[in-house]
């Protein structure tokens, strides 16, 4: 059953990633240079939609709160984020979109994956050194959500309803998605890249 769900949800994810342009480095670069924000609007709307459905569903008892999986906060999250951002901008791929792009036939994405396997192996080799620095130790409570989500097992950073805050932030993401311009500099020439 779990393998069947992996196939169904995974395939849907890959299909949608390709259809929103996320497998195309030209589209990713347009977003990261802030020249063309259609993909940014897509991502913000997706986070908002997902958040509203999830927290709304949890409040109604339709979504199992135990399915939440919150990652720990530590200084290395920020440093790792900086590194990922650097490579993401240079290559135009992140781990998921790189694999999906390779499947669509992009040759450079195969090099991205090969580099990725090397980078992951390098981290496996250097993990004890990072661990020793203390940069992997939890900060601000570690695995925390911004509000307190009932029965999630995670602490809330602020003493407010995590479900309501989740829906409110979801709405903020949706509003920002609509408010952002498609092309801040008025450059739309590559808004629909040749495919």
């Amino acid at each position: 059953m779990s393998i069947l769900l992996a196939i169904l949800i995974g395939a849907a994810f890959g299909f949608v990633l390709d259809r929103i342009g996320a497998t195309n480095p030209t589209v990713i670069t347009g977003m990261l240079t802030l020249r063309r924000l259609a993909l940014m609007k897509t991502i913000l709307l997706a986070i908002g939609t997902g958040s509203i459905l999830m927290f709304g569903g949890q409040m109604l008892g339709l979504v199992d709160v135990a399915h939440m999986s919150v990652k720990s906060a530590y200084i290395g999250v920020f440093i790792g984020g900086l590194l990922l951002g650097l490579g993401w901008a240079a290559a135009g791929y992140c781990p998921g979109t790189g694999v999906a792009a390779a499947a669509t036939g992009r040759k450079d994405a195969l090099f991205f994956i090969a580099g990725g396997l090397l980078g992951a192996a390098a981290y496996m080799a250097t993990y004890p050194a990072w661990k020793a620095t203390g940069l992997l130790d939890s900060v601000a409570g570690g695995k925390v959500t911004l509000g307190e989500v009932p029965e999630s097992g995670y602490d809330g950073l602020f003493a407010v309803s995590g479900d309501l805050l989740g829906i409110a932030l979801g709405l903020v993401f949706v509003v920002v998605a609509f408010a952002l311009p498609l092309a801040p500099g008025g450059r739309t020439s590559r808004a629909v890249p040749a495919e």
Binding site: S2, I3, A6, I9, G10, A11, F13, G14, L17, R19, I20, N24, P25, L32, L39, T42, L45, A46, T49, S51, V63, S69, K71, S72, V77, F78, I79, G80, G81, L82, L83, G85, W88, A89, A90, A91, G92, Y93, C94, P95, V99, A100, A101, T104, G105, K107, D108, F112, G115, G116, A120, A122, Y123, M124, Y127, P128, K143, T145, F173, L182
Partner: protein, 182 residues
């Protein structure tokens, strides 16, 4: 054909929601470690070993958290690994249904040609080094764009916001510096 952002955003959000509803939040970058583990264990048997109550590895990272990565590498037919393979299949299906992405794009993305000309090997070198930096960073952070940024911020995880701040802080100036055209 790229979907209108409104439809695309709702569809992508629905996929992230379906994942939490039915199983667990989406994540990808861990599977690079799992594939490395599978390869390492094939090249050097004994890299992963079975214990009385699970799996462990001679590598401290594979062995952490009671050997959960070691266990996944020893049993590749698990949800998260199959998810990534299925993701590739889904992207392939999408590309085939729209008639492929074309020979020029397969060789080099348009944005590279516009900025750096017809230099495929320079592009492949940047993609390789970029991939290494992305996955090193993702593993240090404990997740990537899918796991931390999308799934994390969707769940209002503090870590997701910290990760997104770091990622965009580095990505925006880098992209503007490397790709002045397009």
């Amino acid at each position: 054909m790229t979907l209108d952002w409104k439809l695309g955003g709702v569809l992508l959000g629905a996929v992230f929601f379906a994942a939490v509803l039915l199983v667990k939040p989406i994540g990808v970058s861990t599977q690079f470690v799992i594939l490395d583990g599978i390869v390492a264990d094939a090249l050097s048997p004994g890299f992963i070993t079975q214990t009385d109550d699970g799996y462990t590895s001679t590598n401290a990272y594979m062995a952490k958290s009671d050997g959960k990565y070691a266990k996944s590498a020893a049993n590749p037919l698990n949800y998260s690994f199959v998810f990534v393979l299925a993701m590739a299949a889904g992207a392939l299906a999408s590309a085939l249904l729209k008639g492929g992405i074309g020979r020029a794009e397969r060789r080099l993305p348009e944005v590279w040609r516009a900025n750096h000309g017809d230099t495929p090997w320079a592009r492949y070198a940047v993609a390789f080094v970029g991939g290494a930096v992305v996955l090193y960073g993702a593993r240090l952070a404990g997740g990537c764009t899918s796991g931390h940024m999308m799934s994390g911020m969707m769940q209002t995880a503090l870590s997701g916001y910290i990760f997104a701040a770091g990622a965009f802080l580095a990505a925006i100036p880098t992209a503007r510096l490397m790709y002045k055209e397009g």
